[in-house]
Symmetry: C2
Subunit: 89 residues, 2 copies
């Protein structure tokens, strides 16, 4: 199997699952105070640019990976706003 394909698959899987533990942690602790909103928005913009790139290039794996990343980041933004008034447990 071509090196490109192997690293591409590893990168796609790692990117897709990366933010899952963060979503679960916020869900459990009901707290996201320490997360920088600027970082999340920058990561979401990055994901969006690669999603657009994948659509324009018909690179389906890139589209799927970045759609998942974007969904996770939007979920983190939603939870961070939802729990912003919570006092840490």
């Amino acid at each position: 199997m071509e090196l490109d394909l192997i690293i591409g698959i590893i990168g796609a899987i790692l990117s897709s699952v990366s933010f899952l533990p963060q979503v679960v942690q916020i869900w459990k602790t009901k707290s996201a105070k320490d997360l920088s909103m600027a970082t999340i928005v920058l990561l979401a913009s990055n994901g969006t640019s690669w999603l657009v790139y994948g659509l324009l290039k018909d690179a389906i794996p890139l589209v799927i990976t970045n759609a998942i990343v974007l969904f996770m980041l939007l979920l983190i933004i939603f939870l961070k706003i939802k729990y912003r008034k919570n006092v840490p447990a």
Copy 2:
């Protein structure tokens, strides 16, 4: 200018600066409790796989971008460990 190059440059810049606000926030608040270590480690592994890919392919922009991302993530891990006993202000 080719579309690939434009999106590549946008992606490289966004990736490189994404984690800077998070590093600054941890530095200011001395707290990183809400950050998921699993997410940071997964993101660092992702950055490492793309760094290796860039080295093997002589794709210098990819190497530089992911070296910066990796440096930021390692800094976040260091700060998260350093401030783990801090009680949120």
